[in-house]
Amino acid sequence: MSGERSRTIARRLLVGAILVVLGCARDSAIDGERPTAGRGAAAADGGASGRGEAGNAGTGTSGSDGAGTGEAGVGTAGRPSPPVFDANTIVMSSCYQRSAETEILPPNILFVIDRSGSMACNPPPITDSQTCETDFKRTATDQPTKWEITQQALVESLKALPETARVGVSYFSNDDSCGVHPSPSVPISRISPAQREVIEGSLRNVQPGGATPLVGATVLAYRHIHDLALAGRISGNKFVVLITDGKQSDSCSDPPRCASAEQCTELLVNGEVPRAAAMGVGIRTFVIGVPGSEQDQRTLSRIALAGMTARPGCEENRNCHFDLSGRGDFGAPLQEALINVLGQTRTCDIRTPPSPEGGLDLVNLLFRMHGNERRIIPQDTSAACDNGAQGWQPIDGGRIRLCGAYCELVKADPDIQLEFVIGCPVQGPQ
């Protein structure tokens, strides 16, 4: 209970700190939002986006209709204008057409977990990986196996996920041989307390056994997630998190698609993973290699790279994945890696409203905290999202992304309400 209270206090402090930053920004926005002569952005009747260029004088009057009077927008080409309206002005103005509540797109995560026989070994130094490959047994009965360590780390790390996240679990193999299937053992579902229990129960019930059909399991995980998305049964960002201690088994090939472990692995790395990560599918693949995976570092690293989850500054053939292969006691590092992965799945993307007239030039995004007044989240395309932008930016796939402190704010406080307002010129950054 005290832990929960501490987390709540910490969250409030974080939100407060972010608000201080945004509050400063807002003050300057308020200065700028009073449309006075010589200060207006592109007026509504100009149909401009708020990035107005010189000469596009607004004809409206200041006041409740919100149309700015005066000369050009203050921006220069390529530089967004500052916001000129506050949130309340926008919703009361004549340009206002409609609004729609929205929310951060939830992550959909399918864990694809290796339960091959070698996971029954104790990790090094009790059982070295080479011995484990030939003799799948637990040498020290009073010490946890690789499987037990993985189970525990997964259960603990899932506590870091917001309840909007959807999580499922697949194991490979599903038959103590090479069996794989698109349907997960734990179907993807919102990570409610009940779903956590289902996952924990599933992990407890499964025992290591069989070969390593890594490629088939990954390919069919993509199929399952993509099918769900096409059917409209999930929305949001999609991730596969692959956890393995070994490499594809030769016996688990799928001729004529691929007739050896090497062929199948190349098919995965060069074909399936990039295709899954590409637009039109949009599934990113995280890879965690636990002890035993040292023999396949290169492949796992390349999967992470192709899966758009490469670690910063990594070497393509070595460590673009989470490489825990050299760690004997890998429980804590695995949990750390999982929390890192799950943190990365929490993006700040929002689906754009359907068919806004005038495109995004006539869309504004507002937020409201705990019943307080609405505030504008400005559009900010003046810098890359991860390089100083403070606002929202359109991205591929019919989405927009919150950047900077706004992203941190909505991550820190899940109760924040987001709302699109359609019809008025988009407001630029403070």
Binding site: S183, P187, S235, G398
Partner: protein, 200 residues
């Protein structure tokens, strides 16, 4: 954000419906619930899935509806429509050869209207993915009926019970469990299809 306005705009069954629409009645569900138009329907990921009896069993919660016509009921000279819902929690280790019904409930609603609840037992045999189950015999007590219907029912069918059997098949590819249910309700017989879907 869970639940909320149920009208997920054009979307699927599992969308996080928003907390209600705003001015234009277009809630978050309407935005997030639609199928992403940028998805490529032609993108295919092919691999040979494991054959039945070797991993085709996928547990989880399955829920859906059934419907049948009640024949030969003492109070009803003509067939009467009976409908309702079924929820089954199928569990079992990944390698198991059976998935057991850990929790099963059926809610039967007749046209009268009367409503009964009963438990369901059963299992999916992974060899062939066949499902066999039975509706636990349940006394249709007075508490479950309106006073007038109860009186007539008790007169015509003393010690009335509800019982039945289900037979079907789990289809892992479509995440569905479909088949036929046969029930005896207070002396009447009712047989019809059921259609359950895995819940996400």
């Amino acid at each position: 954000m869970e639940g909320g306005a149920g009208a997920a705009g054009g979307g699927g069954v599992a969308e996080p419906a928003g907390s209600g629409g705003s001015v234009a009645g277009q809630g978050a569900g309407g935005v997030a619930g639609r199928t992403d138009p940028t998805l490529d329907p032609d993108a295919a990921f092919d691999w040979t899935a494991t054959l039945p009896s070797r991993g085709m069993c996928a547990g989880g919660r399955f829920s859906g509806t059934f419907g049948c016509d009640l024949q030969n009921a003492p109070l009803l000279p003509i067939p009467s429509r009976v409908e309702g819902t079924i929820v089954l929690d199928l569990i079992g280790p990944t390698e198991a050869q059976t998935l057991d019904v850990a929790m099963g409930r059926i809610n039967v609603i007749t046209a009268s209207p009367m409503s009964f609840d009963a438990g369901i037992e059963g299992a999916v045999l992974c060899a062939g993915n066949g499902f066999m189950g039975q509706v636990q015999e349940t006394n249709v007590t007075q508490a479950q009926l309106g006073p007038l219907i109860t009186f007539l029912w008790n007169v015509m069918t003393p010690n009335a019970t509800l019982q039945g059997a289900l037979g079907g098949r789990l289809v892992a590819q479509s995440l569905s469990l479909t088949g036929e249910i046969t029930m005896l309700i207070g002396g009447g017989t009712c047989r019809g299809p059921f259609d359950l879907r895995a819940q996400l």
